[in-house]
């Protein structure tokens, strides 16, 4: 018994940590299980019977797959925009001395310290005042805006940990500024840029609050889910949620395996 308590005390943090992990993953388990449900009525909140109907016909709900593809498009463009602009800012911040550095740092930090609803509401005020047509473009503008700071942060961290002597070595070995950037700086900063881009994609794809304010009648996937929470939740939503979770996990695992194999080969 004493031995058990000693074991318990030593592993308390592990048990608590695994409990948290369970808490984090429980909703995903529920989402997955309920993607095989055959609900009675409009809402998919209680278990009825096993069915593969939704998996066989994932686009069987009106407008859902349209909203999904719109979300993917917006996320792709927002990722490109935010990654390019954010990477440029990150390089400027780490590699150069210039005026108004403090002000620029604050301007980049503030969007991350601002509740989304404030940014959403104020951006809508701007669009209304300018008489802009709400839709794809306003959503894209908003997404690039709030993804930008996260990309800057991710890329900055990587560039900061990069030895400036590497670029000097490239210059010393006859690489001009462009060559140095393409052959040395960019490849070494690539993991940071990729992390920033991945974050931007996830943030944009999953964004609801800012999109809800600035989309007008355009419906992205999160907005479709929101609407269905009021009207009735089709099982297909769970199918999409499960599929995205699986694809993400598989992609990451595949990436890890490839990385490991490459390391082994190199050795």
């Amino acid at each position: 018994m004493a031995a058990f308590f000693r074991w318990l005390r030593r592993n308390l943090v592990v048990i608590a940590g695994l409990f948290t992990l369970g808490y984090l993953l429980l909703p995903n388990v529920v989402v997955t299980v309920f993607s095989f449900n055959k609900p009675k009525g409009r809402f998919n909140y209680s278990w009825q019977e096993f069915s593969l109907d939704a998996w066989k016909d994932p686009c069987g709900v009106a407008d859902m797959c349209g909203s999904l593809s719109l979300s993917l498009q917006i996320a792709a463009w927002a990722t490109i925009g935010a990654t390019v602009l954010g990477t440029m800012i990150a390089f400027a911040l780490v590699r150069y001395r210039f005026r108004a550095r403090g002000a620029i740092n604050s301007l980049i930090f503030l969007p991350m310290a601002m509740p989304e609803v404030v940014m959403a509401a104020s951006l809508l005020t701007l669009f209304l005042n300018m008489g802009a047509q709400l839709g794809f473009w306003t959503v894209l503008i908003a997404h690039i805006m709030f993804c930008l700071s996260f990309v800057v942060t991710a890329v900055k961290a990587r560039v900061m940990s990069m030895d400036p002597r590497l670029e000097q070595a490239a210059q010393d070995l006859y690489a001009g500024p462009v060559q140095t950037f393409l052959r040395v700086t960019l490849p070494i900063a690539a993991p940071g840029i990729a992390a920033g881009a991945l974050l931007a994609f996830a943030l944009s794809f999953d964004d609801f609050i800012i999109t809800n304010f600035n989309a007008g009648s355009t419906v992205t996937f999160p907005m479709f889910v929101w609407g269905s929470a009021q009207r009735g939740t089709p099982v297909q939503i769970n199918v999409i949620g499960t599929a995205m979770f699986l694809v993400a996990v598989l992609l990451v695992l595949a990436g890890m395996l490839v990385g490991r194999r490459r390391n082994k080969q190199a050795k």
């Binding site: 943090v13 592990v14 608590a16 940590g17 695994l18 409990f19 948290t20 992990l21 984090l24 429980l26 909703p27 995903n28 529920v30 989402v31 309920f34 909140y45 602009l85 440029m88 800012i89 400027a92 150069y96 620029i104 301007l107 930090f109 503030l110 969007p111 310290a113 509740p115 989304e116 609803v117 404030v118 509401a121 104020s122 951006l123 809508l124 005020t125 701007l126 209304l128 005042n129 690039i144 805006m145 930008l148 800057v152 996830a202 794809f205 999953d206 609801f208 609050i209 304010f213 999160p222 889910v225 929101w226 929470a229 995205m244 979770f245 694809v247 993400a248 996990v249 990451v252 890890m256």
Partner: protein
């Protein structure tokens, strides 16, 4: 022949000097070109809207007649008197969720950083992967988990947990759904990864030998944690709490999906005023108050915790 002398101090560079270095001085403009598009984007679509919003908040009028700036500051006072319960709820729910996130997230971050061994990356993936399922879908799943008469609620009931929470006023009867507890639970769940990742980052940087050194210097494991590990993880604690509290305070999704009309937070009010009632001045004023309150709290908090280099 090798010679060395201290040359006289150089005179101001004459004309021959300047053109020779011309091409290299042009590089001084590079940072500004790099910054320009992104900063312009933030100025126009982040800073400028805040100005517009400030101006909207002191306008009066109606949708039909249009709004005019009349410096009607009373809107702020009316907004505060009408909606102070929602403000208070936002702060309380977000605060509770932040504390819960810290309590739940720290052990997991610690586990990943020091105890996970070869499982480290797998657990990290499992922490991040839920992000890829739309958070609205996952929040809706809580409706199922916390459903009346479901296994979770039954278990809590038979353990008399719900009696305690009812006494605390965060649940009502044997229901969890549509109570403050459900909202706090949803907020905690939604922002937990934003607590875990910064905590993990700061814990992972701690040199494992520090633990051994502390042990060598007569510190018990609990003392080692209090005197070494936790203080060194402070940057993670600060950024984690900020990343949790700020979005939680402005959130209206959890209150809407998991709560009831009695759990409405300030985000719900802003959303309704802006998108349904179309009372722009009130919505703008509320939004402005929320922003000011959060910036004030964040600044105070960062000062207090002495991690200003975070920014």
């Amino acid at each position: 022949m090798t010679t060395v002398t201290d040359a006289p101090p150089p005179k101001a560079p004459a004309g021959e000097d300047a053109p020779a270095r011309g091409p290299r001085k042009r590089g001084r403009l590079v940072p500004y070109w790099l910054l320009l598009p992104g900063i312009l984007w933030l100025l126009v679509f982040f800073a400028l809207p805040l100005v517009y919003q400030a101006s909207t908040s002191v306008q009066t009028g109606s949708l039909e007649e249009g709004f005019k700036v009349t410096w009607h500051f009373a809107t702020y006072w009316e907004a505060l008197t009408d909606y102070w319960p929602q403000f208070l709820r936002s702060v309380l729910y977000a605060g509770a969720a932040t504390v819960l996130c810290l309590l739940l997230g720290y052990p997991l971050a610690y586990l990943i950083a020091f105890r996970a061994g070869r499982w480290r990356n797998v657990i990290l993936v499992l922490v991040i992967a839920p992000f890829f399922t739309s958070f609205l879908i996952r929040t809706l799943a809580w409706k199922t988990i916390l459903a009346d008469g479901g296994p979770v609620v039954d278990a809590l009931n038979s353990l008399h947990v719900l009696d305690v929470t009812s006494w605390l006023g965060v649940t009502a009867g044997d229901r969890v759904l549509a109570t403050p507890l459900a909202v706090i639970c949803g907020l905690t769940y939604n922002f937990l990864p934003f607590m875990i990742l910064p905590l993990y980052t700061s814990l992972e940087r701690i040199d494992g030998r520090l633990h051994e050194a502390a042990g060598d210097l007569y510190a018990k494991p609990s003392t080692t944690f209090r005197k070494v590990t936790f203080p060194l993880s402070m940057p993670g604690v600060v950024s984690g709490t900020l990343l949790t509290f700020i979005p939680a305070a402005g959130d209206y999704v959890n209150a809407d999906l998991l709560g009831s009309t009695d759990t409405r937070m300030v985000g719900n009010v802003i959303q309704t005023q802006f998108l349904r009632i179309l009372d722009y001045p009130t919505a703008a004023a509320l939004s402005f108050i929320l922003m000011a309150a959060i910036l004030f709290m964040v600044t105070f908090y960062i000062r207090k915790s002495g991690t200003e280099d975070l920014v």
